[in-house]
Amino acid sequence: MLRGIFIAGLSIVIAGTAYWGYQEHREKNAILLNAENNYQRAFHDLSYQISALHDKIGATLAMNSRQSQSPALTEVWRISSQAHSDVGQLPLTLLPFNKTEDFLSNIGNFSYRTAVRNLDKEPLTDKEYKTLNVLYKQSGDIKNELQNVQHMVLKNNLRWMDVEMALASGKETSDNTIIDGFKTVEKTVSSYDQSFFGPTNMNIKQKDENFKNVKGKRISSKSAVRIAKKYMNIDGNVLEKVTENGKGSDYGFYSISFRDTKTNHEANMDITKKGGYPIWFIHSRSVASQKISLNDANTKAAVFLQNAGFKNMDLYESAQYDSIGVFDFVTKVDNIRIYPEAIKVKVALDNGEIIGFSAEEYMKIHHFRKLPVPAITKDQAKAKINPHLKIMEEREAIFLNNLNQEVFCYEFLGTIGEDTYRIFINAKNGMEEDVQKLKNTETVL
């Protein structure tokens, strides 16, 4: 009797567990399938977009009328951006796929620059035709490789989830079709010479100026510590630690860190090996409630820059975050603001201490430059501006346009309704180089 109840109870428990386990299993599979389908969609879409890209570039090449070339190039730009987005949704982060992404971004830049140009006045040059031809061939090769992978995936029912597992664990699996396929695509792209893109191929490369304008002799790690102490105003009992940059860095620097033995606060700074210039520093400490005004902090920041030997710095942006003031300075020579030469200073509003400093952009770009002379007058530049804009401030400035070139401009600050805009008009040719909507306050959500 007792045994019967026991067996009955046990079988109910077993049946329940089995049912529960089955449900869990089904749910897990459903979720896995869902994730897998997302990967599959991105992958097949990538293949589709690349082949559309290839066709569209081909069509552009065959076109004779400039009226239809512009829209076609815009289409190339759109498709390349779509393909780029697909790549971003695949688990390829751990796979060397940089060259292909670089390629897509180059096509995007090239087609954008040519599409927005007035092709009636400035038709595609021979060199640009050549570039398009190469792009056509290149996209064709990528298309073929990708379609091969796609075919294998479909034929053998390959799963991206397995690829992700394989990549994450770093273990080689028996079937590496997808990984190998993408490696082949990558190889195909890297076999091409990248130099033909000309001035459009800028991207991040321009950013690596590597402090080439910085002058001076290589300093020792001891003098680096001395310099860091001076900048960060550190005395008293600190533990110091200096490390050199790793081999992969584009430029030589020392990283110095101080730890106050009493308060345990940390202060860190990077200094160039060449010449011992400050790149940035941060005091990591908590800041108590506000005691001094943003304006007083501004004065302190300006004095700090003056004492540190940064001349002609002009404040262009200031903001308060809780009890910290952040100030953006740029060089100003002969009333021309040089925007690329920017320095940021962070001031604690509890006691006015400078707790942060970043001169990376300034150090990378600052050099002696012949100041340009405008070719058009300010009034001519004003005439180029949207008549709805109420101009409030105007000055001359040098800034980096979207090709990463320094351009000499008239800068106008103005409003349309409640919105504020910063507009740069090229002082040489009157081109509207950039229009930025300025927004730096937001209602607390």
């Binding site: 951006s81 971003g88 992969g248 940390e266 990591s284 943003l294 304006n295 200031s318 903001a319 952009e361």
Partner: protein, 257 residues
């Protein structure tokens, strides 16, 4: 006789009222602004006061939010221009005195409101002193800050402060790079990009340190030395990541190009 009595009573009451108003006005004048010079980017009670008074005069059209943004800046400059002051966008001593004189009636209005609503009025005043808006680095939103803070906290909460700034900087560097997606969410949720996304630690609630680190990175600090990748050598499983050129180590993370 009765009318006379009422009249004299009301005269006394009126003069009393006037006296009270005057004395209060004096008080208001002294306490309306602290003696700081208010500049663009400032936050707090003084900015509230500035905005309210500029709005009262019709120069400012936005909300009284306690943050000195562009609208407040232009309103102040227009006021300075109209009143023959040097147009510098700074609310210093002279500007504030001029503004107080020009808005003599403003506080009276406000006080009547307060009197009318009684205790509730002072409550409303207190609420007005809390900033309703916040400064954000140009080109970002509060949600961007929140999202990156989540990622930074999930990825590096045990790291030193600059290590957290560096992780935030890597996310922003990826945003600029042609090799990565062009949106913050695209970068953060790229499959396999961050372990905190894969294991769900990104959904922990970030602390203020993580948020401060994100703000520093957004404001232009990059302790990573322009890195695009980082990894923890103790836990990294992919051999590929070791092939990246290494820039530096902060805390447990090695930052690479």
């Amino acid at each position: 006789m009765n009318i006379k009595k009422i009249l004299s009573k009301s005269v006394i009451l009126l003069s009393l009222c006037l006296l009270l108003t005057l004395s209060l006005l004096e008080n208001q004048k002294a306490y309306a602004f602290s003696n700081q010079v208010i500049q663009k980017g400032a936050v707090g009670q003084d900015v509230n006061e500035l905005q309210s008074r500029l709005k009262f005069l019709g120069y400012y059209h936005g909300n009284i939010n306690g943050v000195f943004g562009w609208s407040t800046y232009w309103a102040l400059r227009n006021f300075q221009y109209q009143f023959g002051l040097p147009v510098d966008g700074l609310a210093g001593g002279t500007t504030k005195t001029k503004l107080l004189n020009a808005t003599r009636n403003y506080k009276t209005d406000n006080r009547q409101n307060t009197a009318a609503t009684g205790a509730g009025g002072s409550n409303a005043n207190n609420q007005a002193s809390m900033p309703k808006a916040t400064n954000i680095p140009n080109g970002f939103s509060q949600n961007d800050i929140q999202l990156i803070s989540n990622a930074v906290y999930g990825e590096s909460r045990g790291e030193p402060f600059i290590g957290q700034v560096a992780v935030a900087a890597v996310i922003l560097n990826r945003l600029q790079s042609p090799l990565f997606p062009h949106s913050i969410s695209g970068v953060i949720f790229q499959p396999g990009a961050f372990t905190a996304v894969a294991d769900g630690q990104i959904w922990l609630t970030p602390n203020t340190t993580a948020k401060k680190a994100v703000l520093d990175a957004m404001n232009g600090w990059d302790p990573s030395g322009n890195a695009l990748y980082y990894f923890n050598p103790a836990t990294a499983t992919s051999p590929w990541i070791w092939s990246r050129p290494q820039i530096k180590q902060i805390g447990k993370h090695i930052f690479c190009k």
